[in-house]
């Protein structure tokens, strides 16, 4: 169980403040260390789902000569940059908030750290909107879900990824609310978990983009 049992090293060094030293100032909805484990497990299962869909696409492409190649909307590449940028802003924000709380565990984080989370939310929404516009561009070309197997997989992949991104946005909004209201290390560890999920959304999108660009 190495992948799940042992949370791999975080993408960035953990905050200097140990997570459990600060006294709890408010009841916590979940134990702090579990959020990270939960996200790693969720990442595992999401990977499995998309692996299944990828294998389905490979099989379906070989099953009949009706695969239809089409040009991906250029907007997708802009959306990719937006999503990657949002990962950057979240990471900046996370480090900033972690740095502020060193030595002062009871302190509510400074607003400039939180600004990065707001920016991430905005960029995330922009990404989702961009994906919807990309759909509309394809639809304008007459490429719908049922037009061809390639377009079907395109819509399935982007829709499922989009849903997971929306889930990430909701989670991030929740973490933001807690960051603003709750002192102590718990919201920051929740932020770490949310950031991990958010970076994974970016990585997953890069994978899907490569798959779509090479096969569709």
């Amino acid at each position: 169980m190495p992948g799940i049992a042992t949370p791999p090293a975080p993408i960035v060094p953990p905050p200097a403040a140990p997570p459990t030293v600060a006294p709890r100032t408010i009841t916590e909805p979940s134990p702090p260390q579990s959020a990270q484990t939960g996200v790693w497990i969720a990442i595992g299962t999401i990977c499995m789902s998309f692996a299944a869909l990828t294998s389905a696409m490979v099989v379906r492409q070989g099953a009949a000569p009706d695969w239809r190649h089409f040009q991906l909307p250029q907007l997708l590449y802009v959306n990719t940059l937006v999503l990657l940028a949002s990962s950057g802003t979240l990471e900046w924000s996370r480090r900033r908030i972690a740095a502020v709380s060193v030595g002062a565990p009871g302190l509510v984080p400074r607003l400039d750290g939180l600004a990065g989370v707001y920016l991430t939310l905005a960029l995330g929404l922009l990404f989702v909107s961009g994906q919807v516009i990309a759909w509309r561009q394809l639809a304008a070309q007459g490429l719908f879900l049922a037009t061809a197997p390639s377009s079907a997989f395109f819509y399935v992949f982007t829709a499922l990824h989009g849903l997971h991104v929306v889930g990430g946005l909701l989670g991030l909004s929740y973490v933001l609310r807690r960051l603003r209201r709750v002192a102590g290390p718990a919201p920051q560890i929740a932020l770490r978990a949310a950031a991990l999920y958010w970076h994974f959304m970016g990585a997953l999108w890069l994978y899907l983009l490569v798959i779509l660009a090479t096969r569709v």
């Binding site: 134990p31 260390q33 939960g38 497990i41 595992g44 499995m48 789902s49 389905a56 099953a63 879900l145």
Partner: protein
């Protein structure tokens, strides 16, 4: 992760006050566990009634069933079941039993209630996700059941929903319209619920173990739920997208699973290019591990309960864990043995046959460990112990027929016959049910604070044990005689001589079903006014017996236990008797 967490996390929600929060939308894993078990009870009663209807029709196809005509005027006009309605009953029976009973009760139900207590935690890692998981499961069940009353009836394609007939819509028969869509939506929701549940189980096991509860000291039932969660996390993650693709084929006009030129009901289907085999691969990649999702909790429950009544440590606990892990791994390499006749390359059949035969090795080792545990033991023949022995018996009986089916050359003949029906009902259906019964009799004192009647329990065991052998053993002979499954009546000349045996099976099934009323009566009476249970009536070692019966809201009354021993300290010299509890500070001495 082999080091235990120093202290279980503090309880993260206060005890609820209102009725709704306490009993309905509860965040408490114990309430949620009981909710799962109650749902499974409703589901198993529904599934069993469906099987009675099918069995009655198979034995006396012309005889009307009173009242059925009113319930389903189209499917059973005048009370006589049509062939299509027979398939609908069969589909619903299989789906309800596999998903909402065999997955829900031993894994989600007992796992929810006892996994956190057994690791010394106060609740699951994510109580809100836990509650969501149950309610999504309930909605999935209601969506499935609604197929009886909505649209054109329940679907006909069996619990495996083979494409393309499951994908083309109402041309494929009554129930293949709205009913099949409801089926796919229900299973998608069920997958979501189980993924959320598995996430909780794994996180709780990894992160919330109390001080001293190393992985090596975890009870075997916890190990089994943990490993089952990992299997589920991978299996349901594949079934869910498969069901989404199926729904899209049905409602959005895509062609993932529907080939070109398909004519059904004299109508050329407006789809092309899909692969029906793709559905089979995706389904069975989930479907075979699902068998282990149903049975592994039973393995854990039996391994947990048997030493309690043998008053001996379980033989080879590390071997047991190694076997469970290898079964989990191998379960992902054998799905093709369900598809030997699907037209796949015969070399692929060999490839899938070999791991199928290999997986019998850890399964056999586990069985030998159980038998070795009771060898020479002064067994206490309580009802849970009897059901454990019954589990071993039916698991071996069903497992042996698996050797035959694992070989493509023999399976070519036996595939699609009653031999397969007998095999899987024994090995995953009845065996898992015996695990559920053993767990219910064993843990009822803890869950309800009351003892179940031993006399009624023993009557229930013997009638059920004899009954299931009368029902499922003859099915092997039927299969060898070439009796195909999924036929609603046997009108061919070569099948007519087998009808008396079918009648025997039907009578046995009705009697075995009636014997379950004893269980129901016992269970309901216990919950209402059974004799009060002590904290540790069975003299067991694991943490759930260190707390009160039933446990307080936070499981251990605000004092998380500190674990000193493994769960296997039986036949030793302890302060309380021939056992040492996991949280007991004393050291275990020789007996």
């Amino acid at each position: 992760m082999s080091q235990p967490t120093t202290v279980a996390a503090a309880h993260h929600h206060a005890p609820p006050q209102g009725f709704l929060r306490k009993h309905v939308f509860s965040l408490d894993h114990k309430v949620i566990g009981k909710q799962y078990l109650d749902l499974a009870l409703v589901a198993v009663c529904t599934g069993m009634v469906l099987s009675w209807l099918m069995r009655f029709h198979l034995a006396w196809p012309e005889t009307p069933i009173p009242g059925l005509g009113t319930l389903s005027p189209s499917g059973a006009a005048g009370g006589v079941i049509t062939p299509e309605y027979y398939l609908a009953l069969m589909t619903m029976h299989g789906t309800i039993m596999v998903f909402f009973v065999l997955t829900t009760a031993p894994f989600a139900g007992f796992g929810n209630y006892f996994l956190p207590i057994q690791v010394g935690a106060e609740d699951m890692a994510f109580p809100r996700i836990n509650m969501t998981s149950f309610w999504v499961t309930l909605v999935a069940f209601l969506v499935l059941i609604s197929a009886f009353v909505v649209g054109d009836g329940p679907p006909l394609s069996g619990w495996t929903a083979y494409a393309p007939l499951s994908a083309v819509g109402k041309d494929a028969g009554p129930g293949q319209g709205v009913g099949q869509t409801l089926w796919a939506v229900s299973i998608t929701l069920f997958c979501v619920a189980q993924l959320l549940g598995a996430l909780n189980f794994i996180t709780t096991t990894l992160d919330l173990r109390t001080k001293g509860m190393s992985l090596a000291r975890m009870p075997y039932s916890t190990w089994a739920w943990f490993i089952t969660s990992v299997i589920g996390l991978i299996a349901f993650a594949v079934l869910m997208p498969a069901c989404i693709l199926l729904i899209l084929d049905r409602v959005a006009g895509t062609s993932f699973f529907i080939p070109a030129g398909l004519v059904i009901s004299d109508r050329l289907q407006p789809h092309a290019g899909g692969s029906p085999l793709l559905w089979q691969h995706l389904f069975w990649f989930f479907g075979h591990p699902e068998v282990y999702i149903a049975i592994l909790p039973g393995f854990g429950i039996i391994s947990h309960i048997l030493p309690v009544f043998a008053r001996k440590p379980l033989l080879g606990p590390r071997v047991l864990i190694a076997c469970l892990v290898s079964i989990a791994f191998l379960s992902y390499t054998v799905w093709g043995h369900h598809m030997f006749l699907s037209g796949m390359n015969p070399f692929s059949a060999t490839l899938f046959s070999v791991p199928t035969l290999i997986i019998t090795i850890p399964a056999t080792i586990v069985t030998l460990l159980w038998i070795g545990t009771i060898y020479g033991a002064k067994l206490r023949f309580t009802t849970p112990a009897l059901f454990c022995l019954g589990f071993v018996s039916v698991f071996v009986s069903g497992g042996i027929s698996g050797f035959f089916l694992a070989q493509p050359s023999i399976d070519t003949y036996l595939h699609g016959t009653y031999f397969v029906v007998g095999h899987f009902h024994f090995v995953m259906g009845v065996a898992a049910m015996f695990g559920i019964f053993a767990a219910t009799y064993f843990w009822a004192p803890k869950m309800f604070g009351r003892m179940m009647s031993e006399t009624l329990g023993k009557w229930h065991f013997w009638l059920t044990f004899i009954g299931v052998y009368c029902v499922f053993m003859p099915m092997h002979y039927l299969g060898l005689a070439g009796n195909v499954r999924r036929y609603s009546a046997f009108t061919d000349d070569y099948l007519k001589p087998l009808i008396p045996l079918h009648r025997f099976i039907t009578v046995a099934a009705l009697c075995t079903g009636a014997a379950q009323l004893i269980f129901l009566f016992n269970l309901i009476r216990t919950r209402l006014r059974g004799p009060k249970a002590p904290d540790n009536p069975w003299e067991a070692t694991s943490l759930e017996w260190s707390t009160t019966s039933p446990p307080p809201f936070d499981n251990f009354g605000g004092r998380p236990p500190v674990v000193q021993h493994g769960p296997n300290e039986y036949g030793t010299r302890g302060a309380a008797g021939d056992y040492v509890m996991q949280a007991s500070p004393q050291s275990a001495g020789p007996a």
